[in-house]
């Protein structure tokens, strides 16, 4: 795939992600606002969303500059970093699932709050993405051997 096509695809996916984040936040503020949202909840909702959008925009800008000066979007090092980050995210998520299993086993015994199934799915996905992007960022700075 040509680098310009790949960059365009990344921009399209980025735009879809930003739209998804904006739609989710709008939904929370419009439909859930009736129940009253605490300032802390607003903070924890808005700050990560803004950070994600900012990082995405800066990342795509840097890639665009590289492609314009004739450099590839991806190379062997960036692919290896993504593969390693994916591997680490998978392992971490498996252990996280084991932890969740233990949590549910002792819900009644220790009176832990029950987590609804739809929330569990969101929590697992959020954890997996957090580990993946976190490790991607760390490995992009530290390097990979």
């Amino acid at each position: 795939m040509k680098d310009k096509t790949r960059l365009l695809m990344m921009k399209v996916f980025g735009a879809i992600l930003v739209l998804g984040i904006v739609a989710f936040i709008s939904y929370v503020f419009v439909f859930e606002a009736g129940e009253g949202i605490s300032p802390a909840a607003m903070f924890w909702l808005l700050v990560p969303a803004v950070l994600i959008i900012l990082v995405l925009v800066l990342f795509l800008k840097r890639l665009s500059r590289g492609v314009k000066s004739g450099l590839p979007v991806e190379d062997e090092m960036s692919q290896r970093i993504k593969e390693r980050a994916g591997y680490l995210a998978t392992i971490a998520t498996v252990w996280f699932l084991v932890g969740l299993m233990w949590y549910h086993m002792f819900i009644e015994e220790f009176g832990f709050p029950v987590i609804r199934p739809e929330h569990i799915i969101v929590i697992i996905l959020a954890f997996m993405f957090a580990v993946f992007f976190g490790m991607w960022g760390i490995l992009s700075r530290k390097g990979i051997r």
Binding site: G66, L71, P72, D75, E76, M77, S140, G143, R145
Partner: protein, 67 residues
Amino acid sequence: MKTRIKELRAKYDMTQEDLARKVGVRRETILFLEKGKYNPSLRLAHDIAKALKAKIEEIFTFDDEKE
């Protein structure tokens, strides 16, 4: 692993971006190679050696080779 990429780049008045463009990788890859934070594939090592007009073993040295 240590590399002489920076030294040889300077010899041919090449920036990291110039070398990256020549061998078809991102500038960050050249930067990480120079800092010893990434071990290149054989193909990439060969391409860099060709671009810098040197042998692979003259550019890349491993710590145990010094002993």
